[in-house]
Symmetry: C2
Subunit: 152 residues, 2 copies
């Protein structure tokens, strides 16, 4: 699964984010026919943005499409999607969400499944390391700004 082009692009995007000093989360939206529709990474720090998460950036990069373009599409993301990005995948009736890991954060996976979206976790050690390094180096940008409660 990790050899999927969409996942590789999402991981490249996460690395771009890391290189920019941002939160290393990347995403890539791929149509049913394998065409890459959009790609992007989290811009919270780079743009002081509360809404440009990786999945949102990928959808925005794809631009406006008719419903048919999203039919059978897959959203690749390096991290379990938050509630907002979960909702975005539901809104556009994306077929499948492939996520890199959910050890550093668990988002709306069960709600995605409840709404009929397939969820695949590829358990990527590389994605997890990117996140763990970021959280270690910038705890204030993850725990406080990210609204997540720090677990013990």
């Amino acid at each position: 699964m990790e050899s999927d082009q969409g996942f590789k692009i999402a991981l490249d995007e996460a690395k771009k984010g890391a290189a920019e000093g941002g939160i290393p989360i990347g995403a890539c939206l791929v149509a049913a026919d394998g065409k890459v529709l959009g790609r992007g990474h989290n811009m919270r720090i780079q743009k002081s943005s509360p809404t440009v998460h990786a999945e949102i950036a990928a959808l925005e990069d794809a631009g406006r499409h008719p419903a048919s373009s999203y039919k059978g599409a897959t959203m690749y993301t390096t991290l379990s999607p938050c509630d907002m990005c979960t909702g975005a995948c539901i809104l556009y009736k994306i077929n499948r969400v492939v996520l890199g890991e959910n050890k550093t954060f668990v988002g709306g996976e069960s709600y995605l499944k409840q709404r009929g979206i397939e969820v695949v976790n590829v358990h990527s050690a590389e994605c997890e390391t990117l996140m763990r390094n970021f959280i270690h180096d910038h705890p204030e940008d993850w725990w406080v700004q990210n609204m997540h409660k720090k677990s013990s």
Copy 2:
């Protein structure tokens, strides 16, 4: 309720959107102390954007805030929020969503309630008229691009 400053601002934003030829949906994020944190309107048509809905625009306009800023906050929006915007309100633990109407579209109201967010419908005839006029004049921009199935 319609006399609330936040709702008035959301309605003004919807009218701005209409004047720009866009989908007339506006939103305003107000903190617990009454301070207006952000405002915006749907930019699907103006920016060919699939993600800049009114609530997302208001959150983005507000910029980055610590979790404490959203505590007790209200998201005013002229239309029942879609799944993405529902998720965004949940992500930021917004306390209350005040919506203008849900006759032209019903979004994630029940999920908001399920996640502990108060939902208030002000049943605004003005919001409904704005939407009905838009849908009448631009059906292709509402039914096809918006992913909603046209009801009979």
